[in-house]
């Protein structure tokens, strides 16, 4: 188990190094001169002189060879310095510090909702295989997988916001400022974020339960005369949960991707919205930092998922 963990962590570190290279070189591949972008962004197009450009190049170390630049950048990143936003003229780390909590809170609840409901629906569908619940769950999971996040948001905003006036359609308040408002404002975004992972989890859970159902020990449990409830909760649920654990790792990725659209629609000042608007503003430093931080989170979550997977299912470790 220890070698397995060490191997998995080393591989994760390797991927993280590669991720940093991708992000770094994406910026270097830019057709424009970063110094020029910075200076013109800072002064609104005026005051772009050769001296100023040289100054900026020197200030940001852009006059050094590429490997040195990469090394300096990595050193900065590790100490939490992600550079200065071109648009906001502010520390990117600070921009993220304001926005990440918002995205993480909504994302956290979405993961909880999608995991619990997904496991429940997948289990029920598989146990009543071929019944109307199964047909309904399977059909709905198809819908969940194919519905664009923005269509879901449109339906919710139109029905719950415009027609019924039940929920506010825009903005987000932190729960420690106004709890009631925060809950109201979180319902639609969480539904939007949770739908796809919910569908994925339900499908995975369904096939996982069907697989476990075929095992000898389930037949044994039945022939021992155990009640259905005991068999389902003690034997089927426990064993079929193992592959579903990996879905959490995938779910985190889906949720960060979905956040870009969901936060833009609901006008929520999170990381997703920041990234989307930064593309317009050609604020590469922010996109670079955002992509790096999100990828790091996903890699770390997947390492944890894989290790716990190895812990839960001893067969994995020996591969």
């Amino acid at each position: 188990m220890v070698t397995y963990i060490i191997r998995r962590i080393l591989m994760g570190i390797l991927v993280l190094i590669l991720v940093s290279l991708v992000v770094f070189f994406a910026l270097r591949l830019l057709p424009g001169d970063p110094a020029l972008i910075y200076v013109s962004g800072q002064s609104g197009g005026q005051g772009v002189t050769e001296e100023r450009l040289q100054e900026v190049r020197k200030e940001f170390g852009l006059d050094k060879p590429i490997p040195v630049q990469y090394w300096n950048w990595v050193k900065g990143v590790v100490t939490g310095d992600l550079g200065t936003s071109i648009r906001y003229q502010q520390d990117v780390g600070k921009l993220f510090a304001q926005r990440f909590p918002v995205t993480l809170i909504l994302g956290f609840f979405s993961v909880i909702v999608s995991t619990i409901l997904g496991i429940f629906f997948g289990l029920v569908a598989a146990i009543r295989r071929g019944g109307w619940i199964d047909t309904l769950v399977t059909f709905l999971s198809y819908i969940g997988l194919t519905i664009p996040v923005f269509l879901l948001a449109f339906v919710l905003i139109y029905v719950l916001g415009f027609k019924l006036h039940w929920l506010p359609i825009v903005g987000w308040t932190p729960p420690w400022k106004d709890f009631g408002m925060s809950v109201k404002q979180s319902i639609m975004p969480v539904i939007c974020l949770a739908t796809i992972p919910l569908a994925v989890t339900a499908r995975q859970m369904r096939s996982s339960v069907l697989e476990v159902n075929n095992m000898d020990y389930i037949r044994t449990a039945w022939s021992k005369g155990l009640r259905e409830r005991v068999i389902v909760t003690r034997h089927i649920l426990k064993n079929s949960l193992i592959p579903v654990v990996t879905m959490v790792g995938i779910g985190v990725g889906i949720i960060f991707g979905g956040a870009v659209i969901e936060e833009t629609i609901f006008g929520i000042a999170g990381v997703g919205q920041l990234l989307a608007t930064s593309v317009f503003a050609r604020d590469y430093v922010v996109i670079q930092g955002g992509a790096l931080v999100i990828a790091t989170i996903i890699v770390v979550v997947n390492i944890i998922v894989d290790i716990s997977y190895g812990g839960l299912d001893p067969r994995i470790r020996y591969e």
């Binding site: 591989m11 991927v15 997988l145 923005f150 449109f154 139109y158 659209i261 955002g290 992509a291």
Partner: protein, 298 residues
């Protein structure tokens, strides 16, 4: 390349293949939703091809005097905030969707199949390098990676295709690598080595045709996913540039008038969903038809 050994089976295979084909079609069209999916996709292709004949109006021409009209006999789905006919724009949007869909999938699938084949067949360092590169790309959510690439390359249909293509390559590579690894274990591959066939020849003529089947299924579902991703990028305003008729940008433009003219955003969004759903259904149908063992499992 010298054609000394022709180990492929001669034409006698043709006879049983007819029934094979019939069996394939029978299983494919067994489920009503697959039939529905095929029907939707046929309509989509026809609409895209005959767009100028179907659309009654110029999808790009502004007509401010008739902006934000409700559906009528003149404008079946009404007009948008610039007075453009929504139905005509929807029809032309089918072209954009298919263009991006096929462009991206062709780019990603070809690259992914080559990389996966090399990684699976050659193994060792080649495998390690290719697969770690794929792990790296997979660490980013598709939209975030596409944002990064579009930010670097700029918006526009070509760059969207490149961005989404790069973001989706790992799926094909992993799948192809996996099937190649299992195909490689077959005795006929060993036989190739025994007769001294070159690696390239073995890979292209024997491993590739036997490992490609699952990729066909992936291609079909990915067509849907890629169209959805393009719609998301266009929705954010960073995919297809504004005057172009893309369903995603139509939905986003209509969002401003959601309270009063819901059709403006619902119509294109529903079109996207219908197409994505259809591709998924057909993909599932193909998977069942190509590999009966998997039926009902997923």
């Amino acid at each position: 390349m010298s054609e000394v050994f022709v180990m492929d089976a001669p034409e006698t295979v043709a006879a049983p293949r007819v029934s094979e084909w019939k069996r394939f079609l029978k299983i494919l069209f067994q489920r009503k939703l697959v039939v529905f999916g095929v029907f939707v996709l046929l309509c989509l292709v026809l609409v895209a091809i005959f767009a100028p004949l179907i659309a009654q109006y110029d999808p790009y021409k502004n007509d401010m005097a008739h902006s934000l009209q409700s559906p009528s006999s003149q404008h079946w789905l009404g007009t948008d905030n610039l007075g453009r006919d929504v139905f005509s724009r929807l029809v032309y949007g089918a072209r954009t969707a298919l263009e991006v869909g096929f462009g991206t999938v062709a780019f990603a699938a070809i690259l992914g199949v080559i990389l996966g084949l090399l990684a699976g067949f050659l193994g060792g360092w080649t495998n390690a390098i290719i697969m770690r590169a794929m792990d790296t790309l997979m660490a980013f959510p598709m939209i975030v990676l596409a944002l990064l690439l579009v930010a670097v390359l700029g918006a526009g249909i070509q760059n969207v295709i490149i961005a989404l293509g790069v973001a989706t390559v790992p799926g094909y590579t992993r799948l192809m690598c996996g099937t190649t690894l299992s195909v490689r274990e077959n005795e006929y591959i060993l036989a190739q080595r025994a007769i001294g066939a070159k690696s390239l020849r073995t890979m292209v003529r024997h491993v590739l045709p036997n490992a490609i089947q699952p990729v066909i299924v992936l291609v079909t579902t990915m067509l849907g996913n890629v169209i959805l991703a393009e719609a998301s990028l266009s929705f954010l305003g960073i995919g297809i540039k504004p005057p172009g008729a893309a369903w995603g940008s139509m939905a986003s433009a209509g969002f401003r008038d959601l309270g009063t003219h819901p059709l403006l955003s619902f119509a294109p969004a529903l079109a996207i969903m219908l197409v994505v759903f259809a591709f998924n259904m057909v993909g599932d149908g193909l998977r069942d038809a190509l590999d009966p063992k998997l039926r009902g499992k997923l």
